[in-house]
């Protein structure tokens, strides 16, 4: 199970790549493995305002569906249309080409609430 050191994580199995006040969001390796083959991704709209823990989309496999929760609050400034047309990227490259959206955050302090790689590893080990 890959858990890159440079990312932050939510307990809902999303990752966050923080670059200034822009946060790129996706689902973790653990989440994609639990879901199985992802065949459909429902992404938020650019410009949508999101609250922490708010539903921003859905990821669906042949066997189940999982909601995507915003790990941070802010405004959606980009979505990965490629992931919508080739959802298997979420399985093959969850931390790379399988990213879902980018959120511009208003309160960088909120990032402190996210888990680091070690804490997320602890979560998935149990």
């Amino acid at each position: 199970m890959q858990i890159p050191e440079n990312l932050r994580y939510s307990s809902d199995h999303e990752w966050a790549l923080v670059e200034g006040n822009r946060v790129r969001v996706g689902i973790t390796d653990y989440a994609q493995d639990a879901l199985g083959d992802v065949v459909f991704v429902d992404l938020p709209s650019v410009g949508a305002e999101v609250a922490i823990g708010g539903v921003i989309g859905e990821v669906e496999s042949t066997k189940s569906v999982s909601e995507i929760y915003a790990p941070v609050a802010g405004v959606v400034v980009a979505v990965n249309d490629e992931a919508a047309s080739t959802p298997d990227a979420l399985n093959s490259d969850p931390y790379g080409s399988g990213w879902l959206c980018e959120i511009e955050i208003s309160d960088p302090a909120a990032l402190e609430a996210l888990l680091d790689a070690a804490a997320y590893k602890d979560l998935t080990d149990h």
Partner: protein, 355 residues
């Protein structure tokens, strides 16, 4: 309280092969292996896959009265076939609801192997008697356009068995029963083999190039092929006529359970019919989705998923006959409270029809 789940004799091999195991009908079964459901699905359409379907029941019905027992209990007419053939058939209740759908392997004159769905085995024994031998054998389903070519590397004799034929042969000295049947819409074989010899045969077929596939792919394959699943397209309150399976009914037989009710329905015409639906996008359609057309509710889906070959959502569902919905008509199908655009599409969805 938890109930102990049953395991097939292939369980340890599945785990060694990297299977994700799930509970299904009281059994611990492989959902998928390392490459995942979609890859297993495509492997079955393009090459060959192998499923462990040992959780399906086998009931041996033997004796001079066996033929008559089956003829009066089950819908299809054995007189249309002969020993050495397999036949798809239904067990109905008096109201013509489908209690189970069954494959009968007619082994020899007075000898039948009746194969119900896992959870319906006791209903079938109640209706026709026989001996449940499910726990003594495994059933391997090898399916796909290359299934027979790859089986031939292990057993040319098995590979020579034709569609809906049944033969008792030996594979590596082990007595097996092989039938040209399956549940994927592809050519293939189902091999019943004693438990102790099953892991070796499964492994040899995998070494020959057959890809192991789990229940996830089995379900998407049968849905794409428009094949009914009991508990979804068949079950309480659903008749063979509503499911579009009138061909399973031996109308010329003087008696079988449910015949009177079915004759009435044939006379009046079924009040609803099973139809196919194709989503306009990739979103998987799901079961229990309300179907609306022209502003009104016309039916409900019974199964739905993503079609790996068509790369769109597909579903089966019952539509009221009165609604007079035509193929190609636009409909909305509810998925988790939201409406998804779809069209009525004749099934099987795969192979695609000539345009």
């Amino acid at each position: 309280m938890t109930t102990e789940l049953k395991r097939t004799a292939l369980y340890d091999l599945h785990v060694d092969l990297g299977a994700k195991i799930v509970e299904f009908g009281g059994w611990d079964m492989p959902l998928s292996y390392g490459t995942g459901t979609v890859a297993e699905h495509r492997a079955c359409r393009e090459g060959a896959v192998i499923f462990d379907v040992s959780h399906l029941g086998t009931v041996e019905v033997r004796g001079a009265d066996a033929y008559e027992l089956l003829q009066t209990a089950l819908t299809n007419d054995l007189a249309k076939v002969s020993p050495g053939r397999a036949q798809y058939t239904h067990l109905l209740d008096e109201e013509a609801s489908v209690l189970d759908d069954i494959i009968v392997w007619w082994r020899g004159e007075d000898s039948f192997d009746v194969m119900p769905n896992a959870s319906n085995t006791s209903r079938v024994i109640d209706a026709i008697g026989g001996v449940d031998v499910t726990s003594s054998r495994c059933v391997l389903a090898v399916q796909g356009p290359k299934a027979k070519e790859l089986v031939a590397r292990v057993s040319p004799e098995a590979a020579a068995i034709g569609r809906f034929r049944v033969e008792a042969i030996t594979i590596d000295g082990t007595p097996c029963v092989v039938a040209g049947t399956g549940y994927t819409g592809e050519d293939g074989l189902e091999i019943a083999i004693p438990n102790e010899a099953a892991p070796a045969l499964f492994s040899r077929l995998v070494e020959a190039g057959v890809i192991p596939a789990g229940l996830g792919a089995r379900d998407t394959l049968r849905l794409e092929a428009g094949l009914p699943l009991h508990g979804h397209e068949l079950g309480a309150g659903i008749t063979p006529l509503q499911a579009g399976l009138g061909w399973v009914v031996g109308w010329d037989k003087p008696a079988f359970r449910g015949r009177e009710a079915l004759l009435v329905e044939r006379e009046q015409g079924p009040r609803r019919l099973l139809r196919g639906f194709k989503g306009l996008g990739r979103q998987p359609l799901r079961d229990h989705g309300v179907i609306t057309a022209g502003g009104g509710v016309v039916g409900e889906t019974t199964s739905g998923n993503f079609s790996p070959m068509l790369e769109c959502g597909i579903a089966l569902g019952f539509v009221d006959t009165d609604a007079q919905i035509q193929n190609g008509a636009p409909v909305s199908i509810e998925v988790r409270g939201r409406s998804v655009d779809a069209v009525v599409e004749p099934f099987p969805f795969w192979p695609p029809k000539e345009r």
